[in-house]
């Protein structure tokens, strides 16, 4: 199926390529001298570090400040679509409580008396008017309220979900790094125009490291329902998949990358998995 789609897509020219965030060649990084380069913790052994433009929100048109190196274990990991799906369905399900409720034959009012004698009437034998065979009778194995659907996805599936989602976003040019979320105005139209001009798709998720955001972006995005802001500790697979474009600040990039790398390299697997083990003894 994928082969069919790719054959079609290969023919169409990709107009958005000039807006690509992932730098494919390193020859044109003339502007990268002014910014502070990043040092990668846990330097990758087998993969080259990836490069991404550092952008700015100061003007509506593209303004690139320089190139940043990002860790391939986080941003060029194997894109496991199935694990992304597992994360998304887990996020939907763990908080879902079904309140659907039905009554069994003993909970439905009445039905204690035998409706008619067993024999002699030529009618079918019945013991209760609330039997499941009757209209208005009880329901067999019906849903009972409340039914929680809480479960915990294994820790490393959650981690793999995050790296997969970030890698997918980066591979599809839907990941952008900005120096800060400070906007020149508090106008709603400024953000809308900026997103339209840079082809960031209708929905955008801005992520900063802390949960205190600059006043300008909070006011500008407050009314727009498809442009949202989120602190780094709230970053999750569902929100990344829901929004077309993910915009991280440089500080958020550092924070997320260091956190994920820390978890990828630590060896107390049993301790982090133990908390939500299903069959605890």
């Amino acid at each position: 199926m994928l082969a069919n789609i790719t054959a079609k897509l290969r023919n169409c020219t990709c107009t958005a390529r000039k807006y690509a965030t992932s730098a494919l060649s390193t020859t044109d990084n003339s502007t990268s001298t002014s910014i502070e380069p990043r040092t990668l913790t846990f330097p990758p052994k087998y993969q080259e570090p990836r490069q991404i433009w550092l952008e700015s929100l100061d003007s509506i048109d593209q303004s690139k400040l320089g190139l940043l190196e990002i860790h391939p274990s986080v941003f060029a990991a194997r894109p496991r679509i199935d694990v992304i799906h597992q994360n998304v369905s887990w996020q939907k399900m763990y908080r879902y409580v079904s309140y659907a409720h039905t009554k069994s034959r003993f909970e439905v009012r009445g039905g204690g008396r035998k409706p008619w004698p067993q024999k002699g009437l030529g009618r079918a034998r019945h013991g209760s008017i609330r039997s499941p065979l009757w209209r208005g009778g009880g329901v067999i194995h019906g849903p009972k309220s409340p039914t929680p659907h809480f479960y915990m996805l294994p820790f490393y599936s959650r981690l793999l979900g995050l790296t997969s989602a970030l890698s997918v976003k980066f591979a599809q040019d839907d990941l952008h790094i900005v120096d800060s979320l400070e906007l020149p105005t508090e106008e709603k139209s400024y953000v809308e125009e900026l997103v339209k001009e840079r082809l960031w798709g209708p929905s955008v998720l801005f992520v900063d490291v802390n949960d205190v955001f600059p006043r300008s972006i909070t006011i500008a995005t407050d009314e727009i329902k498809h442009i949202n802001i989120m602190p780094a500790y709230g970053l999750n697979v569902y929100s990344m998949m829901k929004h077309d474009t993910l915009v991280l600040t440089r500080a958020a990039l550092d924070h997320i990358e260091s956190k994920i790398l820390e978890h990828l390299h630590k060896n107390d697997t049993r301790a982090v998995m133990a908390k939500f083990k299903v069959d605890q003894q």
Partner: protein
């Protein structure tokens, strides 16, 4: 990383945007466990037709339809009497230990005891399941080459020979379950804010093992141990290496039979928050903890 990752990522550049609408699990990843009806796998569902298999009226286990059952046929033979009370020593091989040292999980410049091994996170101990410490086994004895001061709870003769041949020192020491519980997760023990307990003496059936210089028991005479080191070297045909003078102090470091942690005495309270150690002042406590 493998080439498939690169391929997948470059393929994604030409594919529509991955979003909530087009993600799915791998085909066949989830198996629905439902009892099908009629044409959807109906029939007898593996229960067969008629009789006990269909109606679940199984005989009780061991019942032989009137025969004298097998489990009652012979007189009492208590093979496993007291089995649940026996001390267990989960094994760790010399190969594992060498690997822990080679991968920098264990620092050989300090004495190695159960706490060191447990802190690697790669060896687990459950004192409530009658685990009484680590048993060092002889797998990898040929390649063991670390000069260490090692304390384990159980060791065979080959293991002792392998450690001493490499120029190290080995001791076998007993810890009671309360001491072991403190060692299993040291941080959570210190957070409880209770004094470090005294290590108990071994029970009567273990005294002999731990006071035998052949086993390098911690209760045996040190002079007899040095004799036994020579005897073992002659038995296994190696020349006993002289203890390295640069690390002699570390190799000679021993614990008191009442002590659990190196450098910490029983009765002390370790306050992790303020980073201080509180020592008892009252005479009665000092006497109790033999300080």
């Amino acid at each position: 990383m493998s080439n498939t990752t690169e391929k997948a990522l470059s393929l994604l550049r030409y594919l529509p945007r991955v979003c909530l609408a087009n993600i799915r699990d791998n085909p066949g990843a989830k198996k629905k466990s439902r009892r099908g009806r009629a044409q959807h796998g109906g029939d007898y569902h593996g229960a067969g037709n008629k009789g006990s298999n269909q109606r679940q009226n199984f005989m009780r286990i061991g019942y032989e339809t009137g025969n004298n059952p097998f489990y009652l046929r012979f007189p009492h033979e208590p093979y496993y009497k007291g089995h649940h009370l026996k001390r267990q020593y989960p094994p760790l091989s010399l190969l594992d230990l060498q690997k822990l040292i080679d991968t920098n999980r264990i620092d050989t410049s300090r004495p190695i005891d159960l706490v060191t091994i447990l802190n690697t996170g790669l060896y687990k101990l459950f004192p409530d399941q009658h685990h009484f410490g680590v048993q060092l086994t002889d797998e990898g004895a040929d390649i063991f080459a670390a000069k260490i001061n090692l304390e384990v709870q159980w060791a065979s003769e080959q293991v002792i020979a392998a450690v001493e041949k490499a120029g190290g020192v080995i001791t076998t020491a007993y810890y009671d379950p309360h001491s072991l519980q403190a060692m299993v997760n040291t941080k959570s023990f210190f957070e409880r804010g209770i004094p470090i307990p005294r290590r108990m003496m071994p029970p009567p059936d273990a005294i002999e093992y731990y006071s035998n210089p052949g086993n390098r028991g911690y209760l045996s005479d040190p002079e007899k141990i040095s004799e036994e080191r020579l005897v073992l070297a002659q038995k296994y045909g190696y020349t006993l290496p002289k203890l390295d003078s640069r690390i002699l102090e570390m190799l000679n470091e021993t614990k008191d039979p009442r002590q659990i942690f190196y450098g910490l005495h029983p009765g002390w309270v370790v306050n992790l928050k303020d980073k201080v150690i509180l020592k008892p002042l009252e005479e009665e406590l000092k006497e109790f903890y033999a300080l």
